[in-house]
Symmetry: C2
Subunit: 115 residues, 2 copies
């Protein structure tokens, strides 16, 4: 769960494509087969496979095959890793803004005491 650069690279790259985000949105409502995932998109099945491969190697998704159907499901941890990287940035950013606000407040008070 550490800040593994290569895994974040792949996760964010996977998220950068609207087809793959669409698949993740579908999968966040439950597992689906390859052809179910393909339905909303006007691309060939091989293209779908390539998107799925990107999602799998990023760790955002996993799948098992039973008979001739492959069932794909979301993987909680990779999603959380990407999310928490962003949250960390926002928190640092907000902490800085708070310090800045303190600074502004202190200046304002100085000015007030000048009058």
């Amino acid at each position: 769960m550490l800040n593994d650069s290569a895994s974040l690279n792949r996760a964010f790259a996977a998220l950068a494509d609207p087809v793959r985000r669409g698949m993740l949105a579908r999968l966040s409502r439950g597992p689906a087969s390859v052809s179910e995932l393909a339905v909303p998109f006007q691309i060939s099945l091989p293209a779908v496979m390539q998107h799925l491969k990107a999602l799998e190697t990023s760790g955002l998704v996993a799948s098992q095959k039973k008979g001739r159907v492959r069932t794909v499901h979301l993987e909680r941890d990779a999603l959380a890793e990407a999310e928490s990287w962003l949250t960390r940035r926002r928190e640092e950013w907000e902490a800085r803004l708070d310090r800045f606000e303190d600074y502004v407040t202190s200046i304002t008070q100085e000015n007030a005491s000048d009058r």
Copy 2:
């Protein structure tokens, strides 16, 4: 603040590169000049410029030039947009797991009542 696909594409693509994530990490601690941002990386300045351009067109970052120094700072909203897309997926995913848990519980209770 709506789910603008093109803007999410660019934001996540920008986040997929470790150099750009490094710059964002630096910027979450406060504004910096172009050459300050370049320091931690062993790449040419033009390469740095290109990363900055990616960050700017993604909306994650903005900058102004004063004299010969360009100062870059984080833009709160684009960061929040990417973060909230991920949060939404996780929430849906968790809601589904809760429903599944309810289902498992109900099954278990049925089994218990069988005994």
